[in-house]
């Protein structure tokens, strides 16, 4: 038996948008109200069952968010097949930061990289006036830039495994499992199906 396929994925986004919380929810199913700031970067892995006969190990690099750590990011996204760029739906600035990351990733790793865009802290959307970013606009942006977009809540677990799963599927689709982690980049970019669900309450979109 050969080892299960695996791929490298990097988490990027402004500080305190919930990168580490998403990673923790995804890898361990846990949530902490206050996670320790990530310094440098942290590493986690989690194995996903993509379908009946494919498992994929996700090797997740969780990076520091503060701008001054920006110059370290290339160390982690270099050679990564996928990225999850995270913003906070209650902080409009964090979205522009996220767009900056998308741009940087596209320039560095090209169109072949699978990029997910997570609008995190969706649980706060129900609190009056907390939401500062309109999901429809982001969905449009995501569509234009071929991003897998979902609003997520690491706190409640909404859409967390879904977005990771969707990213993993795209990665798997792009490259046969046995060649994973040896990026070839010969495949034409497949158009992702971004989900324009604007609310956090829909758990119905976990497509199979």
């Amino acid at each position: 038996m050969s080892r299960p396929g695996h791929f490298k994925m990097v988490l990027l986004g402004e500080s305190a948008v919930g990168k580490s919380s998403l990673a923790l929810r995804f890898a361990k199913g846990q949530y902490q109200d206050h996670a320790e700031s990530t310094i440098g970067a942290a590493f986690l892995t989690h194995t996903l069952q993509i379908d009946a006969d494919t498992t994929l190990k996700v090797e997740l690099w969780d990076t520091a968010g503060q701008e001054r750590y920006h110059s370290l990011a290339p160390m982690y996204y270099r050679g990564a097949q996928a990225a999850l760029v995270v913003y906070d739906i209650t902080n409009a600035d964090s979205l522009s930061q996220a767009k900056k990351w998308v741009k940087e990733l596209r320039t560095a790793n090209g169109i072949d990289m699978i990029i997910g865009l997570a609008g995190n802290k969706a649980d706060l959307a129900t609190t009056v006036n907390k939401r500062k970013v309109d999901a429809r606009e982001v969905a449009e942006y995501a569509d234009d830039n071929q991003l897998i977009f979902m609003e997520t809540s690491a706190k409640r677990g909404d859409n967390v495994s879904e977005i990771f799963m969707n990213v993993a599927r795209q990665v798997a689709m792009k490259q046969p499992t046995n060649t994973l982690n040896k990026p070839q980049g010969a495949f034409p970019p497949t158009k992702p199906k971004p989900k324009g669900n604007s609310s956090c309450c829909s758990s119905s979109d976990s497509k199979s």
């Binding site: 109200d33 206050h34 892995t45 520091a64 750590y69």
Partner: protein, 684 residues
């Protein structure tokens, strides 16, 4: 107070004065003589700098309100070690104190190492961290400064807003597992500490990791002592680690790689192949291991780190790699390697054979790698600083090119060349403080005098009589957005784009705008130039629609309607009108600019003709404008000489020699040649 060599005195005959140091204290009129210094110069210098930092302490009457500062938080919240163990340690320390002295004069003995290896007791951490880190001197030299900083930084908007935001976001994320930082008392102490430091050292401001380290300091030290220790860390013990680019940490990664290569060559090869050599230990250094090993164990590292400095981190990191060498060598990929290390580091809690794992590890690191010393580290740092800075410069260059490309018709290659020159002129070092909201390249700016030098080499308009006049006007236009009498790269490139790439009309527009001097109109004019291009179509299309609508009714036009249409046309111009004085300046500029032209007879004729026509036009427009400004605050322009940009450009277009001059002007010298000339003169 002055430190200098004591003049020859007969009182102390036996001492060889060349190697002696005599210190006279102010209060207890005693004289201390220290002799036989090998490094007398060094000590003397140290003393001089230290003393020069002491200001004669007059009673600083501070009207700052008294703020209650926190005591070591561990006193209030749980402490982990058992009472007996603490007592035991305290006893050993007290014995050492009675034998070898206490306070900053404490002797460095071998016994001291052994004591520190076992962990400093909680009750002594405040005192010893302060002494070992050297912060005790900073504190003594700056009485009341912390209190003042706390007060200043509490007046929120003093430091950059975003810094406060960043601090606020990270307070609860410092040491979330420590009870002290789950409650308001601990959190507000940490807030005061970090804000005060950001205020104290704006170059560093706030960097993630300082929340964690600051948190640890507050657990065992009182607030003021924690502050000076944090300062010592950021400024001396971890040089440049937390500045705007975490350059210091990157440099030390390079140094660490060198040591790996030297001491563990096989493993280093393997790590390089796995692609983890550069990033594996970054957070170890950045957080003094606090983030990567269990908290209790990290305290042992911090104890010895304060005592022995940066070498401790290198030694320990090497030891950790060595401990895992066999397993790491068998790894298949980077993920495996990191998981091996992570689980190893997580497990640094258990005790084996009565000794904590971490204690054994630290001792081991001293056995295996005690050769590593600060001098050596500094030498290697020098080499890696250059590398790190070069890499950064390259990435800044890339980002400058990629981000400004869309505003101009320059090629990427040209932009990079221009940026290189611009950066050189700005004389800003790569590591200087930057605005976190900006991309690195955006922080480079040039002032007026550097800009004029650039003009001399790069501007096709720096010719004729008084070329600085126009150059300065253009500087004023493009420096407005920075509010600081400086021009940033994006505006620099926009300006040069017009000078070198844009058409006749755009150039005329730029000259026209640069000559509108009166406040409100000037702001309006400049905003049309600097606003993102996307802003224009909106207003334009609505205007165009009106124009179209007006055109369709033209068939049935009466004299009244045609007058309305003309008004409409004037309004179409986004640029404000120019007054007579401004126009005279404009004419002068045009003459100055073209005096050196070969074909100047025709050119001057054209200039004279056009300016005469324009003078008349301005005169004729008086009554129209009076009609147009039908209401309020129109007093100034009412019934005055005015000229619109459309009128100006129409007159210029009519004169072929002027059009030709502008065309050939750009082509006189290629950008490449211009940049080459600059580099010849300024870059060795």
């Amino acid at each position: 107070m002055v430190v200098e060599k004591q003049p020859e005195t007969s009182n102390i005959p036996d001492i060889e004065s060349q190697s002696a140091l005599i210190i006279i204290t102010k209060e207890r009129a005693g004289t201390f003589t220290f002799s036989n210094f090998n490094d007398r110069e060094f000590v003397l210098n140290k003393l001089s700098t230290l003393l020069s930092q002491y200001s004669e302490i007059t009673d600083l009457k501070t009207d700052t309100p008294t703020i209650t500062l926190s005591n070591p938080l561990y006193l209030q919240f749980n402490c982990h070690d058992t009472e007996e163990l603490q007592k035991l340690k305290e006893t050993s320390w007290n014995n050492h104190f009675s034998n070898y002295g206490r306070g900053s004069a404490i002797y460095r003995t071998n016994e001291l190492y052994e004591l520190i290896f076992q962990g400093i007791p909680n009750s002594l951490r405040n005192e010893l961290w302060l002494i070992f880190s050297g912060a005790i001197h900073d504190k003594a030299a700056n009485p009341n400064v912390y209190q003042k900083l706390v007060h200043e930084s509490s007046l929120v908007k003093i430091i950059h807003d975003s810094t406060n935001d960043e601090i606020e976001r990270d307070l609860y994320r410092a040491l979330p597992d420590q009870k002290a930082f789950q409650q308001e008392s601990g959190i507000s102490a940490l807030r005061r500490l970090l804000r005060a430091y950001a205020c104290h050292n704006t170059d560093v401001g706030y960097c993630q990791a300082m929340n964690i380290i600051g948190g640890v300091l507050l657990l065992y030290m009182n607030e003021e002592d924690a502050f000076w220790t944090l300062a010592a860390l950021c400024e001396r013990l971890l040089p440049d680690y937390y500045n705007t680019k975490v350059v210091g940490a990157l440099i030390d990664q390079g140094v660490f790689n060198d040591y790996c290569d030297e001491y563990l060559p096989d493993l280093y090869e393997k790590l390089k192949i796995l692609g983890v050599a550069t990033c594996i230990s970054l957070s170890w250094f950045l957080t003094l291991f606090i983030c990567v090993i269990p908290f209790e164990s990290a305290l042992y590292v911090i104890d010895i780190f304060f005592y022995d400095g940066i070498k401790v981190l290198f030694q320990l990191a090497l030891t950790i790699l060595k401990e895992n060498q066999d397993r790491l060598l068998q790894c298949h990929d980077d993920g495996d390697a990191i998981m091996i290390l992570t689980s190893y580091l997580d497990g640094l809690t258990d005790e084996d054979e009565n000794e904590k794992k971490i204690v054994r590890l630290i001792k081991q690191s001293y056995e295996d790698y005690n050769d590593i010393n600060e001098e050596d580290i500094n030498r290697l740092r020098l080499k890696h600083r250059l590398k790190v800075v070069q890499t950064m410069a390259e990435s800044i260059l890339q980002s400058a090119a990629k981000n400004t490309l869309k505003y101009t018709s320059f090629t990427e290659y040209e932009i990079k060349d221009l940026f290189y020159v611009f950066k050189d002129a700005s004389r800003i070092s790569l590591t200087e403080a930057i605005d976190p909201r900006k991309l690195a390249y955006e922080t480079y700016r040039v002032g007026r005098s550097e800009y004029l030098v650039l003009c001399k080499y790069l501007s096709p308009w720096f010719i004729g009589e008084h070329p600085e006049d126009l150059a300065k006007r253009l500087f004023d236009v493009y420096s407005i957005s920075t509010n600081s009498n400086e021009i940033d790269f994006i505006n620099f490139i926009r300006l040069w784009n017009i000078l070198l790439n844009e058409d006749f009309n755009d150039k005329l527009r730029l000259i026209f705008i640069a000559h509108i001097e009166e406040g409100k109109r000037r702001d309006k004019a400049i905003s049309t130039l600097l606003e993102p291009i996307t802003m224009h179509p909106v207003s334009k299309t609505s205007d165009n629609k009106q124009a179209e609508a007006a055109a369709s009714t033209e068939q049935a036009s009466t004299s009244v309607e045609s007058k309305e249409e003309e008004n409409l046309k004037i309004k179409l111009s986004l640029l404000p009108l120019m007054n007579q004085t401004e126009f005279i300046h404009l004419c002068k500029t045009m003459y100055d600019l073209m005096t050196s032209a070969a074909d100047d007879e025709n050119l001057f004729h054209s200039l004279t003709t056009s300016s005469t026509i324009l003078f008349k036009t301005g005169e004729m427009c008086k009554p129209y404008r009076a009609l147009e400004d039908d209401n309020k605050n129109s007093d100034e322009t009412n019934n005055q000489w005015t000229l619109s940009f459309e009128q100006f450009s129409a007159a210029m277009y009519a004169e072929t020699p002027i059009v030709t001059w502008f065309e050939s002007n750009t082509q006189q010298q290629s950008l490449e040649q211009r940049i080459h000339n600059y580099n010849q003169d300024f870059l060795r």
